[in-house]
Subunit: 656 residues, 2 copies
């Protein structure tokens, strides 16, 4: 193998020399130059195995099974696949008290929110309650988060409603709409579980935080605008979601605004927002905002009943069917003209639901200092949606707002979800008639109060301050969602985020390095103002892998650096340029185009009697250079381990 | 600004200590630690300007205009936009001789190839000659390459034919087909020139070399298979391009095979291939392969005339219209149902033509050691296609094979293209009747002999040896073109190439570093087997920018490294882990997700009483860390310039 032996040559001692002098001038004491090693050659199978392991099993999920007895492995396996056995076996009464309190608290939030979000998705309110019963039960068996409160969420509801309503009207064809919603939910579950099983969980990471900030802000505004229908009591409302058509519809139908509804809606909205504000200021008072929605519902229902609200133009929920979730397997439709729509809706709502669920799970896990296995979590969320789609539930996941309440209420395990589900069950069995007089405007107020927290102005401002490109991604998601459509906004933002990575790979930085006086370190002259150039040397740091996307650019850019350096030298009358040193520390990968560019560059510079020296090629790069013959083209005397050694050796060569 | 001053603290002297000891043990002599600088803060406008300059003007095209008089600037500007004035002003008779010889040589190749490639594109043979007349003239005025031989090329002809034939039959609707071809050519020109004017030339670099190797190999086989029609004399041939339908068609129509045609075709094909082989072996005999096609055409025409070939079932070209290019502006159709097709075809053939032209131009420029301005070259190629589409020409570019002949024949300037165009003009005016008896099978033989050189088996093997992923991209392009379609093959290969970049950004390497004995360098333990771990320290090199795509992965992967290191320490009874050092030299960019991941990681490790230290954050990263507050979270005592200083300082802190 080329360059794999440790070579010691009779150059002046580099280390002595570098440590004691600002930049090296050659002396004639012997110098030890450390040759650059090439990592041990692996077989194709070995490197493929390692690579795939790194891509799909970065967390090494089986490490806990190592060196264990068979029985222990079985128990661990059971714990692994059904976390309920893990925490269930250590469960005791003290935990139950905490879980019961938090469970009841989130139920008081889940019931009004469930009904509201179902309406947001264009579904009958009762489906929201169904969805707060079966999925939490399944999650409590399979899920590994202790804090996640499972149920319908605003974003996924909005997107499902927006995508399905584009094609089918929930008012004109309610059965078809319901069928599509359940089928889409089934596909969302299949997609989520497959991502987890195929260990492709990293796809969720492609929604970057700036994108999500913008997306959620835009979605929150879209959702709030939709609530103007309920809040103003408008009857003939547009079915479109965009900012412009909704505002048009609101003002064109001014005559339909009902002052009774407006007064009631605004009062309760103010109440909810104040409650929210109190809880935000003092996290110990979490129960204020947690109890506010249920309190408002009860209050508004009583008011509505006492004043016979329906007679004054205030619409109410009306009759709700009592009983537990009816089976809906027969409503799943895997054929027909709308299959594509169901699959598309399923995938998009599925990935949004996953993103929210994973982010919530990780946030609270890190607060309590435990870890969540992302892929396993996806399987759990997928399983609960698949099961849910057969029991009249639509897409569910871990909710931001309710999980925060759950955490603040002191939940200890996923049992709080079971408590919540029981409370929902009790409601569905016995309390449904109580909702008859609940005004619709109340649900609108609850939704607005819930989503308004998703608008993160401070986060957007921080993005502007720190990273303009991230801010751009954030704003395109925001305005894309607001002005075009939810899906397009998302697509644009993801596209911009990925484009940023590609542009970085297409136009990487190259920086001129100089010696930091008193050390043997060479650093960017633009960053370290104390660093000084080494006469006759041009030291360039390449800050990117060398790929086909940038090989041509780098080749031309380096030649431009050389030209500019020569101009500078001519002007300032310094000693002429002799050697170009490429610091490859940040060149973490190279492809065939990249190696060709290096060879081309060497040939071009050779013709101009300039030396080209490579410094510190890292593992994979060293291996490829050696395999492709580029190493031999350069020769070991043009490849060094450190910039200092390269300079010492080159200076020594010139002198002798 | 945080950390921008040079801080000197009373730690033991790091440089002395590192240079003399294998790894540092703290001593109590004062140590100078160099603080990490943050580059000077720039305004948004400044950094935007610099960034855009780097993206769009990396070559600084205006540098030659600096500090020149107005008149000189005008002259330079004329030279810049019309290179013919640059080389034209120094032109002399000796150059003319070389250019005339090479011009005539490439004309003898261009005439038969022009006719053949036009047939490949489904166009009348005469269009191939037209296209070898106008575009070379325009290129010779605008183009900056001295070696490019301009005219129709096989790949672009194939793709244009394949895309247009999918929708319109050239036999049944010849006028519409011709209209579409000219319109597509116009759009190709517009697209090419716009890329150049908008300085987006780097888009061409997105076709990596492995992709092109596979693509051209596949296209060469597709093209050769199409020639079986002419070579076997089949009348009822499929209009499809794929490997399978063509082979089916060939064998289903066995009865139509004409032995006279086959014998003639194979003999001349053998002759052409032998001539090609001779020229490849001895580049000085370039004229053997250069003259072979014209010789074969003359010979076969004479044979066909003497033996009255058409009577024996050998089809000939027949009557060709004499005269120069008729105008075709009236045939450009910017409306109607096929506009989309014309635009799509234009863009795809345009980018393929550009890729070939740019690659050829760059190759020969580097052989003769001059530089080509990519963006200017695109404008030239675009202009010649736009003009060509108005003068009955279809897509043209610099051809690989003819440019090589041009170079070998000793061309000096673009004048050889003018000579070639004149020879073509002469042919069109006076020699057309001579082609009446030229057998079609001859054209097939010429095409096969020309494209067979595009199959680069050795190149593919080298890819396999050096880079398996590149080989995969190459093979998918090859089989995609062969089995699906030309466009799909290209799309798949580009997709795979970009996916490779994204996967690198999603699952970057993290490596454990150790001290290389006798130096203060820290390198990958897997690469440098002499490197040794530093007790109580885990030094990790992060080999990628930290982006949203990998921030979660890196966070978890680093925690896994810590867990594994602790397991190893427990087993080998070493001193316990105290500090994790992240070498950020290769972290050339960071986004908001990345900074959050670093903060999260620090908090997690703090809870486990482990120190997290950052080393050598580079310019942009240092700036963002400082702007976002992450720097303050870490504190200057957790950010160092070198690994050595970080270790010395941390060890010193532990001891005191």
């Amino acid at each position: 193998m080329v360059g794999s032996s440790n070579r010691v040559e009779s150059f002046p001692d580099a280390t002595d020399l570098e440590a004691s002098q600002p930049f090296p001038t050659p002396s004639l004491t012997p110098l030890q130059v450390h040759s650059v090693s090439v990592p041990q050659e692996k077989t194709t199978f070995q490197s493929l195995k390692q690579r795939l392991g790194e891509v799909f099993f970065p967390d090494d999920p089986l490490h806990q099974f190592k060196n264990k007895s068979f029985l222990r492995k079985m128990v661990l396996g059971l714990h692994y696949f059904f976390p309920i056995f893990q925490w269930g076996s250590d469960y005791h009464l003290k935990l139950l008290k905490s879980d019961a309190i938090s469970g009841v608290t989130i139920a008081s939030l889940a019931i009004p929110q469930g009904i509201s979000y179902a309406k947001l998705a264009g579904l009958p309110p009762i489906v929201g309650l169904y969805s707060s019963f079966v999925p939490p039960l399944i999650y409590s068996v399979l899920g590994s988060s202790r804090d996640l409160a499972v149920g319908p969420v605003s974003i996924a509801s909005l997107v499902m409603g927006s995508m399905l309503r584009d094609v089918v009207s929930p008012d004109k064809e309610p059965t078809l709409y319901l069928q599509l919603a359940f089928t889409a939910t089934f596909f969302a579950g299949v997609f989520q579980a497959s991502l987890g099983l195929l260990r492709l969980g990293f796809i969720v990471d492609f929604l970057s935080k700036p994108t999500l900030t913008g997306f959620m802000g835009g979605a929150a505004i879209i959702v709030s605008l939709q609530q103007l229908k309920g809040l103003l009591g408008i009857v003939h409302f547009t079915t479109k979601m965009g900012f412009i058509p909704v505002m048009q519809s609101v003002f064109e139908n001014r005559t339909e605004w009902a002052w009774q509804t407006v007064v009631m809606g605004l009062s309760f909205l103010a109440f909810l927002l104040i409650a929210r504000h109190i809880s935000l200021r003092r996290p110990k008072l979490f129960w204020v905002s947690a109890a506010a929605p249920l309190t408002s519902v009860i209050l508004s229902t009583i008011l509505s009943f006492v004043f016979k609200a329906p007679n004054h133009g205030i619409k109410t929920i009306g009759h709700l069917q009592e009983g537990v979730n009816p089976p809906s397997v027969n409503m799943l439709d895997f054929g027909g003209p709308y299959l594509n729509l169901a699959i598309k809706t399923g995938i998009i709502t599925g990935i949004l639901a996953l993103t929210e669920g994973m982010a919530v799970g990780r946030t609270f896990a890190s607060l309590k200092n435990y870890q969540i296995d992302g892929n396993k979590e996806m399987v759990a969320i997928g399983a609960m949606n698949m099961a849910g789609s057969c029991a009249s539930c639509y897409v569910t996941t871990g909710s931001f707002s309710r999980s925060a309440v759950n955490y603040n209420a002191g939940c200890k395990t996923a049992l709080s979800n079971i408590v919540m589900a029981s409370a929902v069950l009790f409601t569905m069995l016995f309390l449904m008639p109580l909702f008859y007089y609940t005004p619709n405007v109340m649900l609108s107020a609850i939704i607005i109060a819930a989503v308004i927290g998703l608008i993160d102005v401070r986060g957007a401002f921080l993005l502007w301050k720190v990273d303009k490109f991230d801010f751009l991604a954030c704003m395109s998601a925001f305005f894309g969602v607001l002005l075009i459509s939810v899906q397009m906004g998302l697509a644009i933002a993801v596209g911009i985020s990925l484009f940023k990575i590609l542009i970085h790979a297409t136009r990487p930085n190259t920086v001129v390095l100089g010696n930091v006086p008193g050390t043997n370190s060479y650093r960017n002259l633009a960053q370290y103002r104390e660093a000084v150039r080494v006469p006759s040397f041009l030291i360039l740091g390449i800050e990117s892998p060398i790929y086909f996307t940038n090989s041509m650019y780098l080749q031309e850019r380096i030649l431009r650096w050389v030209r500019e350096e020569e101009d500078r030298i001519t002007k300032s009358n310094e000693s002429s340029l002799k050697c170009i040193v490429l610091d490859m520390a940040a060149v973490t990968a190279v492809d065939t185009n990249g190696m060709e560019a290096l060879s081309e560059l060497k040939k071009t510079l050779d013709k101009r009697s300039l030396d080209l020296v490579l410094v510190n090629p890292v593992g994979e790069v060293a291996q490829k250079l050696s395999r492709s013959g580029t190493w031999e083209l350069f020769g070991s005397e043009h490849i060094y381990m450190t910039v200092g050694e390269a300079i010492a050796a080159a200076s020594y060569k010139c002198q002798t």
